[in-house]
Assembly symmetry: C2
Homo-oligomer: 351 residues x 2
DNA sequence: CTGAAAGCGCTAACAC
DNA sequence: GTGTTAGCGCTTTCAG
């Protein structure tokens, strides 16, 4: 008895070939859209494929091609708050679109508890995916070293976390120009003639917070220590930071807040304390999340980053990298070139 | 030249075997923890495995075993809900724990736009997964038919959506006892002596909403039409529904709200309108999400469902089903037995 | 207890 | 254009 269908019950290439009266190679060529096949054969094969409901076995295929056309999107999310954030959804959307357009499929892996690292490592090591996108890494996140160890192509968002590792070609990253954006924001404030420009930073274990503070310092290298207050990227944190700022420094007349959400909190406190914005205190945020920046009173002047484009860029970088790796040794000579997405200041009413 | 490492650069079974001075079969047995291997061989193999950093190629393995030890968790819902809705997180957590304990790995697939259905179908058909968990299905969701067509074992949450399909063994579902829970809630209200018991339903395209309304009708078959107001499972929707209810029916003295979130909205409106809870109007919710039910004023009496356990149950049901399918024909005789999780009323102050 | 041999379903040279 | 021939890396009878 010949094998028309695999043990799993699904028809095989072999079955299609026999039924269509051609060889397996021909069927394979048709399936993979290779050119050198007679129109007639193409038609016959297509017909049988439909008739039998043939679907290629991805495992068999991956075994020989060494590609799964699947990439992992690993999300390290200790703070659920990032997800309420439209910024994140946009980024996800960009990733997905780019991946799908280029024939890959994203698979989401979440890290919510410490044990999840081992699980993810296990999954990644099994060859299910061609590469990984590492999102919202924390400082000293073990993920980059993991993908490195597994020799799995990976791309991170955010600046390279501080780690002893030397430049590894496997470690690529894509980032918003946090430092440049912050610089522009602070320069704008200074350009407005403000003399006491403070800043509310994000949680300093995130590189984005560090970079934004750097941008502030680039413009104001001599800012007094009390002009820098650490927030935590939440609305309440922004409010608390603003209160502290006002206590220590009643004459502050401008503040660069490292996120829109915190800026909303800061604005609330300013209003409670009777300070007019922007007359008494000018405020600039970061992110340009429309739902927040357009809804505050007054509307927030803030630094825009194109989240969707950043997502696409990450995906594109990964896919290109995967292709490079597949191409061979070339990898070792690939220069390490992080991709930085530009930001731009969006003027509204708060500064 | 012998092949010590695959083209992808990773060592193969073959390499381990040679290095350890045994056959591939023996290595395979050790890797898979099969008993009939001499302690000595086990030790040697383990050593070489570690030394070479050997990791089995899952594709090769799946090709022969026909299992990937991976299951898809398909979520028809914007991604962010997963993080906002504690019920959802708990359920996810339950699914994950059960899956992992039994050696499988969950892979998340989101359906957020219409085109995603085709993508998911593509992914599912490629043999990446052994089965699928279908979450938050809408009425007439194409997903069940899809898994059916692909002959992919699947388990849904929620009652079987209305569909022409006859009992299919591939279509299993797990559900909370929405109807029973609603019944208990309404009975409680009636037992309190309330005469005008209304209900705010969920979005009626979700079967959970339908079933909860059924439970209400079981107890109050003759309730006037204006006592039933449709909500949408959001806080704002609950508030709006409560307002409508009060307009149409100023003398309402109790309301069963089909979700805690909506109940929070309803409570807010009641407060605004100066109605005391529970003195003037008694309120019972559904879900028992601590973050909501314990935080409302007054704390919410509500129907508890064990989301985590439901998640575990789904996973268990799917895994068992997959095993059945693998075992062979037995499948056709598997009786169709939906699993219903019991619910219980949690008494707090609102009723 | 262990090894040899036979594939799983597919792609990719390489001939014709 | 199309078929033939080798495997991809692993599991699994089946002999020993």
């Amino acid at each position: 008895m010949t094998t028309d269908r695999s043990a799993a019950g699904r028809p095989t290439l072999e079955a299609v070939a026999r039924r269509a009266g051609v060889s397996r190679s021909t069927v394979s060529r048709v399936i993979n859209g290779q050119p050198a096949v007679s129109p007639d054969a193409v038609r016959r094969v297509r017909e049988v494929v439909r008739e039998l409901g043939y679907v290629p076995n991805q495992n068999a295929r991956s075994l020989v091609t060494r590609r799964s056309d699947t990439v992992a999107v690993v999300i390290t999310e200790p703070q659920h708050r990032l997800f309420v954030d439209p910024y994140f959804s946009l980024q996800q959307h960009g990733i997905r679109r780019e991946l799908v357009e280029r024939g890959s499929y994203p698979v989401l892996l979440f890290i919510e508890e410490p044990e999840d690292y081992a699980r993810v490592e296990d999954f990644l090591s099994r060859g299910h995916v061609d590469g990984a996108l590492l999102l919202s890494l924390r400082a000293d996140d073990p993920l980059p070293d993991m993908t490195d160890r597994l020799a799995l192509p990976a791309v991170c968002v955010g600046r390279r976390p501080p780690s002893g590792r030397a430049e590894s070609d496997r470690y690529l990253y894509v980032n918003s120009d946090n430092r440049g954006g912050a610089r522009e924001a602070v320069r704008h404030l200074v350009g407005l003639g403000r003399r006491a420009v403070a800043t509310i930073t994000g949680a300093m274990e995130q590189t984005a917070a560090v970079d934004r503070l750097r941008g502030y310092r680039d413009v104001l290298p001599d800012a007094a220590p009390e002009m820098v207050v650490e927030g935590d990227f939440t609305e309440a944190g922004g409010a608390a930071a603003m209160r502290r700022l006002l206590e220590r420094n009643p004459d502050v007349d401008a503040v660069f807040v490292a996120s829109d959400l915190m800026a909303a909190g800061a604005l609330r406190v300013l209003r409670e304390r009777g300070r007019r914005v922007p007359e008494d205190v000018a405020v600039v945020g970061f992110d340009d999340i429309p739902a927040i920046a357009e809804a505050t009173d007054p509307p927030l002047t803030t630094v825009n980053q194109d989240a969707e484009e950043l997502g696409r860029l990450m995906a594109r970088t990964l896919l290109d990298h995967i292709a490079d790796c597949a191409a061979g040794e070339a990898v070792d000579r690939t220069p390490f070139t992080p991709v930085i997405m530009p930001t731009r200041l969006v003027h509204r009413a708060s500064a």
